[in-house]
């Protein structure tokens, strides 16, 4: 019973905070609400018996990445957005673009509905073992990550490395050494 109540509290917090991220005029509040949303997600991971994923979520997303976001918002000192001054001639306001966006949103709703219909077909929650013990230990996680999914893991690392090198190359001014 208590678990269900906590689940709905955390889920509600995550949804409301995420919705408010888009609704805020002040980018600073948006960043903070996104952190709150990540925190609620971490709570949900703990409920799923995955404390390592929860802590990784806080360290990487709520900790490192959001500090970077905050840094950028502060450095650019982004002004508050004003709805009345929204650029009517902005390329994203063309009817073709708007229709494409509506189509994507419709697809997402259909996908979600389809996934929800299939919940009953799942025999056991994802990640749980036949004997009921959840895969929550870091040792098990490491084995799965570095043995069964070793290729995907290494491919992701290379992708991130390429992105990093690309960012440095793009940000570098012509004629300066690194």
């Amino acid at each position: 019973m208590a678990e269900t109540v906590i689940f709905y509290l955390l889920a509600g917090l995550a949804v409301v905070a995420s919705a408010l991220v888009i609704g805020q005029r002040n980018p600073m509040y948006s960043v903070l609400l996104l952190i709150a949303s990540f925190g609620a997600l971490a709570g949900l991971y703990i409920q799923l018996d995955a404390p390592f994923v929860a802590v990784a979520q806080i360290i990487i997303y709520a900790g490192a990445i959001m500090v970077l976001f905050l840094f950028v918002v502060m450095l650019l000192n982004a002004p508050k957005e004003d709805g009345a001054e929204w650029d009517q001639a902005h390329p994203l306001r063309r009817p073709g673009v708007a229709r494409f966006g509506a189509l994507l949103a419709g697809l997402l709703v259909i996908q979600l509905a389809w996934a929800l219909m299939r919940i009953a077909e799942l025999e056991a929650p994802v990640g749980s073992q036949p004997d009921g013990a959840a895969v929550s230990s870091v040792r098990e996680l490491g084995k799965v990550l570095f043995q069964r999914h070793a290729f995907a893991f290494e491919a992701t690392s290379i992708l991130i490395l390429v992105a990093m090198v690309g960012a440095v190359v793009l940000a570098r001014k012509e004629g300066t050494d690194l």
């Binding site: 802590v55 990784a56 709520a62 490192a64 500090v67 905050l70 840094f71 450095l75 230990s137 870091v138």
Partner: protein
């Protein structure tokens, strides 16, 4: 409510109470040691040898008027110090202060001295300390003052830079112990080599310990890395516009973060409550207190002997020296572990 639960609550309450006291004690220690190093007495008027000076400080701050600049962001200005102090207290939760004890036969089964024992304890400390930076950054931004903003910006840049070396040096210890639970890491350091050298990770990871110590000083914004509040350049940095109790929360968070840093260093590198010689049962936490106290003394010692770096030197040092050194330390540790155990 059974006895065991009550004792556990008592332990948690006592640790919380001592953490509050530690910030007062450290303020006094800082001023006394500074006085000693500068060949003067330090605070001497309140109580015997000025021992009650922290109470005078706190009373003074309590009776000050609470000011908020006109252009400040009302919500974030209030939230920032609360965030700082909450994160500082919460980070200590997974640091164990002693082994198992029955409180001299009071309980049937021994309980563990500490607030919480999680199987990912090291990472939890790390996650919560990384939340603490938001307090400083928000204080800097919401004050609507140039000095505060510069302090907040410096804090975020500094913490991003030093968190990497900090985590990488800890990763080497985690590999040696084969566990993420702080209690298990401490227990793997029990015993002696050749029956007289304690099996502390300090002796296996001397480079890692030095990197951890340097990054830890930078993480807690202490001198010589106290750029977010560099007085000569930024008035008081991120807390320039704060007054009264809201101001007091920032130094308190800083001192509690120091205690956490010293506690983690003690448990990961100095064997926690395992000492060079065993103490009678139920008193092993004295080793923890002694070691953490010594590290805190070194912190204060350093503040009053080492001058502040320049900001670009801090960044260059963090990225070009400390981080590569910690990565090499990690790789060498992993290779040796594979070679010796495989």
């Amino acid at each position: 409510m059974d006895l065991r639960f009550a004792v556990q609550l008592g332990v948690i309450g006592f640790i919380f109470f001592m953490l509050i006291n530690m910030s007062a004690l450290l303020v006094l220690a800082e001023r006394k040691i500074m006085g000693f190093m500068q060949q003067r007495y330090g605070p001497y008027l309140v109580g015997p040898h000025g021992m009650l000076q922290p109470f005078a400080d706190i009373l003074k701050l309590l009776f000050k008027e609470e000011l908020r600049p006109k252009g400040a962001d009302k919500w974030l200005f209030t939230l920032a110090p609360i965030l700082s102090v909450t994160a500082a207290f919460a980070a200590f939760a997974t640091v164990p202060v002693g082994g198992e004890t029955t409180f001299f036969g009071l309980l049937d089964d021994p309980i563990k001295l500490g607030v919480a024992d999680l199987n990912v304890g090291v990472l939890v400390v790390f996650a919560i300390t990384s939340m603490g930076v938001y307090g400083i950054v928000l204080a800097g931004w919401s004050s609507n003052s140039k000095y505060s903003l510069m302090g907040g910006l410096r804090a975020s840049a500094q913490m991003i830079s030093y968190e990497l070396s900090y985590a990488t040096s800890i990763a080497a210890v985690i590999m040696l112990a084969g566990s993420l639970s702080i209690r298990e890491i401490v227990d793997s350091q029990a015993g002696y080599w050749w029956s007289f050298i304690p099996r502390w990770y300090l002796f296996l990871q001397p480079v890692g310990f030095i990197i951890y110590a340097i990054a830890g000083v930078a993480e807690t914004n202490r001198a010589p890395f106290d750029f977010p509040e560099a007085e000569q350049e930024l008035v008081a940095g991120y807390n320039t516009e704060y007054s009264s109790v809201r101001f007091a929360m920032f130094p308190q968070a800083e001192y509690i973060n120091m205690v956490t840093m010293a506690g983690v260093a003690t448990t990961l590198y100095l064997g926690g409550w395992h000492g060079p010689f065993p103490l009678p049962a139920g008193f092993d936490w004295l080793w923890f207190v002694a070691k953490a106290g010594f590290i805190l003394f070194v912190y204060i010692w350093m503040r009053w002997t080492v001058p502040r770096y320049r900001y670009d030197q801090l960044m260059a040092f963090g990225w070009k020296w400390l981080f590569p050194a910690s990565v090499i330390n990690l790789i060498v540790t992993a290779a040796l572990l594979l070679y010796l155990n495989g």
